[in-house]
């Protein structure tokens, strides 16, 4: 290695990791933004090229517009008088012209709990009916009207963030309440009386922090007689986004609003694609989740074998689960221990593996205390490929101490470790605006007694829908355990040797993967996992915290000292 190359590597080794706080902040904010987008809060800026770089402006406008929804659904005493007056008018309408000739309108119904959006002449239209959990949107480019009647009500999530701001606005506060700073950073504010159009207005000027690249100002004019907001002006300053951009929106309170998506201009002849999940699908997923959540605390040994290798020639891993806490360690054979001799045909496999594990050293892989997950990312030099060989054989003295990388634990699905993660796959919780879940009660193929649950993303391009489709053959008579799983057309997983826990919840003792794809140039066909669980072992809490060093709890006797 040349000196230059060595120096480059020295520089390259510098790495700065994000903190857990930053991870939480970004992931949390992103989730809220995604929810807002799914909720259809895309008022003018989503359609405005000049504002394409003006995300901060768009978000702020979404916030302020979202205020009206909170107001509409959950008025409280502090502004009951105003809310009462507005309740006499069933619709709130906001109209903006982000670019010349491009009109965007939004309607909100107080009593009907409806929110609708239309852009002209682009032709995009969207309608949420929160009371009936229905959601419809028309994509003019595709000429398709998408509908679903199982909308989880994500529109409502933003409302809570807006409520404090709304109350502040209607109280006429000197400073509007932006307490939800995770959504919008604390802005500079000014409140003053202005004269415009021959009358007085209360005008709030909100300027977002100067150190943001998309410096933006929003002005809201409120009628001092009714305290009703009547207009909104958003401006982005020159800078990163280029030329300044400006948009005015008018706020009206009309008697009429759209009764359905077609009244927003959607052609009656438009193709309708129903993305609703059927009721059985949701019930089955709920039952599968319940089985995973209620599964007994346990410890156990899992074993990975490859291809036609016998059950005793593989890499074991230890698993522990206690409520939401879990842990997994890999058992690695020191070269001096090597591969095992073939056992007698009638041997107790579980007992044999317990004895075998006593001659291995164990490398912590992942640990969770239920709130965070720590992954050990330390690798011995040159060991990358060793991880794909079973059994893994590596000298324990060469392996570096654990290097823990943490992440927030996901509460989406209560099955993080095998065999539960195979019996009750977390993919069942897959969500998305265009994700649909349907059940065939009598599928033409698959294991006997199983229903077929199909999850696919209809929003993908036609040529990619198949590759994004997952199939689950689920046995409703055995706690909705997944017996067979198929991803696209080239990956199958067969769960067999089904057993019951003391609580009578089913789990697979054997999981066979059939992967027809090449991975790193290697044929991964035939990877099999075997599970031997125990339900009476002690599970001290210390097990579920990341240790500072490799745990050599089962050190081979001849390697001690």
């Amino acid at each position: 290695m040349t000196i230059e190359h060595e120096f480059e590597q020295q520089l390259q080794n510098v790495r700065i990791d994000t903190s857990a706080e930053l991870d939480d902040r970004i992931l949390g904010d992103a989730q809220k933004r995604q929810a807002a987008r799914l909720a259809g809060i895309r008022f003018p800026f989503a359609f405005n090229g000049r504002f394409r770089n003006g995300v901060a402006v768009g978000a702020a406008v979404a916030v302020i517009i979202g205020v009206f929804l909170v107001w509409a659904f959950d008025p409280n005493d502090s502004w009951a008088q105003v809310a009462s007056a507005v309740k006499l008018r069933p619709w709130i309408q906001i109209t903006g012209e982000p670019e010349v000739g491009q009109i965007v309108e939004q309607w909100f119904s107080i009593d009907k709990m409806v929110m609708a959006t239309r852009s002209k002449p682009a032709g995009y239209a969207e309608l949420h009916d929160l009371r009936n959990h229905s959601h419809a949107w028309y994509e003019p480019g595709e000429k398709i009207l998408y509908v679903r009647t199982d909308d989880p009500g994500s529109v409502g999530q933003e409302f809570d963030f807006m409520k404090a701001l709304l109350e502040s606005l209607f109280r006429g506060d000197e400073r509007l309440d932006f307490e939800h700073k995770e959504l919008v950073e604390q802005p500079k504010q000014e409140r003053r009386m202005v004269e415009a159009g021959g009358r007085s207005w209360i005008e709030y000027t909100i300027t977002f922090p100067d150190d943001r690249v998309d410096t933006a100002t929003i002005r809201i004019r409120v009628d001092p007689d009714t305290m009703l907001p009547r207009s909104l002006i958003a401006e982005s300053k020159p800078g990163y986004a280029g030329a300044p951009a400006r948009m005015e929106a008018r706020i009206d309170y009309p008697e009429q609003g759209p009764a359905d998506i077609y009244e927003l201009g959607v052609p009656r002849e438009a193709k309708v694609v129903d993305l609703s999940s059927n009721g059985n699908a949701l019930t089955i997923i709920k039952l599968a989740r319940q089985s995973a959540a209620e599964f007994d605390d346990h410890s156990g040994i899992g074993v990975i074998t490859e291809g036609d290798a016998p059950w005793y020639r593989g890499t074991p891993f230890r698993i522990w689960r206690k409520g939401a806490k879990w842990r997994m360690d890999y058992g690695i054979a020191d070269p001096l221990v090597g591969e095992p001799e073939p056992p007698a045909a009638e041997v107790d496999r579980h007992a044999w593996w317990k004895a075998r594990c006593e001659r291995l050293w164990f490398l912590p892989s992942e640990v969770s205390d239920g709130k965070h997950v720590w992954s050990n990312i330390a690798l011995a030099e040159g060991s990358e490929q060793a991880r794909y060989q079973h059994p893994i054989i590596w000298p324990h003295v060469d392996w570096p101490p654990p290097n823990w990388e943490s992440r927030k634990s996901s509460d989406n699905w209560p099955a993080e470790t095998g065999p539960l993660t195979f019996g009750y796959p977390p993919q069942l919780a897959r969500q998305g605006r265009t994700v649909e879940k349907n059940v065939q009660e009598h599928p033409a193929e698959g294991p006997q007694g199983c229903v077929l649950l199909t999850i696919r993303d209809a929003g993908l391009p036609p040529e990619k829908i198949l590759s994004g489709t997952e199939k689950f053959w689920i046995d409703p008579n055995r706690g909705c355990i997944t017996v067979k799983y198929q991803a696209a057309t080239d990956f199958f997983r067969i769960n067999s040797d089904l057993k019951r826990s003391p609580k009578s919840i089913w789990y697979p003792a054997r999981v066979q993967n059939v992967d027809l794809r090449a991975l790193d140039g290697k044929d991964r066909t035939g990877l099999t996992l075997w599970f031997y669980l125990e339900f009476d072992a002690e599970l001290p809490d210390e097990l579920f915290t990341p240790a500072d060093r490799i745990i050599l709890s089962q050190m081979p006797s001849h390697l001690e000292n």
Partner: protein
């Protein structure tokens, strides 16, 4: 899912896809951005925050011409440049490597490497901006010289020259660092 499918999934509201993208690139991007900003970790975190949220907001219009990693590194570069432009207009300079949570290969090595790493970072911060960019984008952003050249709109030869000069300058600075002189043969 490939990069384009991930972006499409994010546009469709798939948070798991976003989390996958976030975790795959976050440390690389924070490293690149912090180095570009002369060690201002707080500003780098803000840039990272903004870049990732922009991915959420604009996923439906993102058209990848290369890898997602290159796209994200470029986005961080643009934002970092903007921060530096504003900083030049003001008198404050927040750059400091004192607070950096420097990651080393193992926790046990952190203490013994800390001074060395900080010396490297400080030397990097002392480079001209265009030199620092090319070193950071290449070594930490994983971009090829060709990609960097296209990004800057200049020839690949110029980029390679900048890189060579930057490395030479870095080595010269580090050779005169008293801490490193004691540590290295």
């Amino acid at each position: 899912m490939d990069d384009a499918e991930l972006i499409q999934a994010i546009a469709g509201g798939n948070h798991a896809a976003f989390e996958q993208v976030y975790r795959a690139h976050k440390d690389r991007l924070l490293t690149v951005t912090t180095l570009l900003l002369g060690g201002d970790l707080a500003a780098a975190e803000d840039v990272l925050h903004e870049v990732y949220l922009r991915v959420v907001e604009t996923a439906h219009v993102i058209e990848l011409r290369g890898s997602l990693q290159s796209y994200l590194v470029s986005a961080c570069l643009n934002r970092a440049r903007d921060v530096l432009r504003r900083r030049r207009r003001s008198t404050s300079d927040n750059g400091s490597f004192d607070r950096l949570p420097v990651e080393s290969s193992t926790p046990l090595h952190v203490l013994e490497r800390a001074e060395e790493v900080h010396a490297l970072l400080t030397a990097l911060a002392g480079l001209a901006e265009e030199q620092r960019e090319v070193v950071t984008l290449h070594l930490h952003g994983g971009m090829t010289f060709r990609e960097i050249a296209e990004l800057h709109g200049i020839s690949i030869n110029t980029i390679q020259s900048r890189y060579r000069y930057a490395l030479a300058a870095l080595r010269s600075r580090l050779a005169h660092d008293p801490q490193l002189k004691e540590r290295k043969p």
